[in-house]
């Protein structure tokens, strides 16, 4: 008896499904921004509800006729669910929309000011998006180019993985502005990277006694290990010892040189330091 009831119920459900004869045929895959035609079967009025990854479209349609989904209806990449509802019931089918070709690149470079002669000192990561801001996850060949007036040109071609292509490049030995390009599929984005001198490499100082009981101490042009003048503002610490004790003064480099007048009496010892660079200590006698 129970078995008969189950069979009867299955038949009723089967007939109910069969009575809603509407169906639809559409391509299993589409491209974002493209339009597709959907063939329907059945008869009468129905509503087509399109559930996209991040938008919703509702259209009144006539079953048995073909209707279209326009480019804007398919703007998101991802899985879509199309639901047809009519008085007879509901039918739902899914299809997938892939991103379109690259339309713009999000290009993130680091740092904006890079020290000279650094191994893998400049990094770039490019994310490619289509016209509808879908991240393109399929592999793309991305061309990176780093160029500057004195630095020459470095080029790398990288295949994107999981939507990103990244590159690490050595910074050149000469300071200056660099143009950092990323390009794929006819789309190009440029960033500017400033290459700046590194920390001071060595310090040379010289001093002369002044009449006012002070000693003028000056550095030679302060350079990094690649021979670039260190940027203005780099701090040099001068320390002097005399009969009165110790005097320490921090001075900023201006146009490559740091200079200070230290109060001194008698025998004076003076040294200077900046970053990891230490100047050779000098001795002199201050003018009384």
């Amino acid at each position: 008896m129970r078995q008969m009831r189950s069979v009867l119920l299955a038949c009723i459900v089967g007939i109910a499904n069969w009575s809603f004869a509407a169906d639809m045929i559409f391509p299993e895959r589409a491209v974002a921004g493209g339009k597709i035609s959907i063939e329907t079967s059945g008869s009468g009025a129905a509503t087509a509800v399109l559930i996209a990854p991040s938008h919703v479209v509702s259209k009144s349609i006539v079953l048995g006729r073909t209707f279209e989904l326009a480019g804007d209806d398919l703007a998101d990449a991802g899985q879509y669910t199309l639901i047809l509802t009519s008085d007879d019931g509901e039918i739902a089918k899914a299809f997938f929309v892939s991103p379109g070709p690259p339309a713009h690149l999000s290009f993130v470079t680091h740092p904006s000011r890079a020290p000279v002669a650094q191994k893998a000192g400049i990094t770039g990561a490019a994310y490619a998006f289509d016209t509808y801001d879908n991240l393109i996850s399929q592999p793309l060949l991305v061309d990176f180019k780093l160029s500057g007036a004195q630095a020459g040109t470095i080029e790398r071609q990288v295949s994107s993985r999981s939507g990103v292509a990244s590159v690490n490049l050595d910074s050149p030995a000469r300071e200056g502005l660099l143009r950092f390009d990323a390009a794929t599929g006819g789309v190009r984005t440029t960033r500017i990277v400033r290459v700046v001198a590194d920390e001071p490499c060595t310090l040379q100082i010289h001093a002369e006694p002044l009449k006012s009981g002070r000693v003028r101490v000056q550095t030679d042009p302060v350079k990094d290990c690649s021979g670039n003048l260190v940027p203005d503002g780099t701090v040099v610490t001068f320390t002097g010892w005399d009969n009165q004790g110790r005097t320490t003064v921090d001075v900023s480099v201006k146009k490559g040189i740091a200079q200070v007048d230290l109060p001194s009496t008698g025998e004076v010892r003076i040294s200077a330091a900046s970053g990891v660079a230490l100047g050779k200590q000098i001795r002199l006698r201050a003018t009384p």
Binding site: I51, V57, G89, T123, S137
Partner: protein, 170 residues
């Protein structure tokens, strides 16, 4: 057919009521794998904050869709992802169609963490329940597995979702 639909509606309604009353009962499970992520290693604190913030972002999204309030998205969604879900909420108001998502589980796989630590790219294999309502009546329900490619970036005190891109299931 109607009998089944009404029964299904009642069950979903019951689940919604239970989840609203005790969110912990319905909190999605979340796993994060960091195998193969690079070039920078993910810091232990980040390994904790990413799953927490990502699940929170889904929770906010779910609520924003349910109450049709795009302002809520500002808390965990930015950029492209924010704009897209704002459009979805606008569409809901315009069409009278509502889409509710309930995330059941997330399996996160971190794939790219750049040396400056300014972004994190990861995949999520998510199990979702989707409900489509028209005039507050459920017209479609579906339990589905989806795979997303996600770009998260740091904000002041949290990581936020900048891109949430569905990709084919692999």
């Amino acid at each position: 057919m109607n009998y089944f639909r009404h029964r299904r509606t009642r069950v979903l309604l019951l689940v919604s009521i239970i989840c609203a009353g005790a969110p912990a009962v319905c909190a999605p499970s979340v796993e994060l794998s960091i195998t193969g992520v690079g070039p920078r290693q993910m810091e232990p604190t980040l390994q904790q904050s990413i799953p927490r913030d990502y699940v929170k972002a889904w929770q906010i999204l779910s609520t924003a869709l349910e109450v049709r309030d795009a302002k809520l998205l500002d808390q965990y969604w930015v950029g492209v992802a924010h704009d897209k879900f704002q459009r979805l909420i606008d569409d809901e108001s315009r069409t009278g169609i509502q889409v509710h998502y309930r995330d059941i589980s997330h399996k996160l796989q971190a794939v790219f963490y750049p040396s400056d630590g300014a972004a994190l790219l990861l995949y999520d294999n998510v199990q979702l329940e989707m409900k489509v309502l028209r005039s507050s009546r459920i017209i479609h329900t579906q339990k589905t597995n989806k795979r997303y490619l996600i770009l998260m970036t740091p904000a002041q005190d949290r990581w936020v979702v900048r891109v949430l891109q569905e990709v084919p299931l692999s």
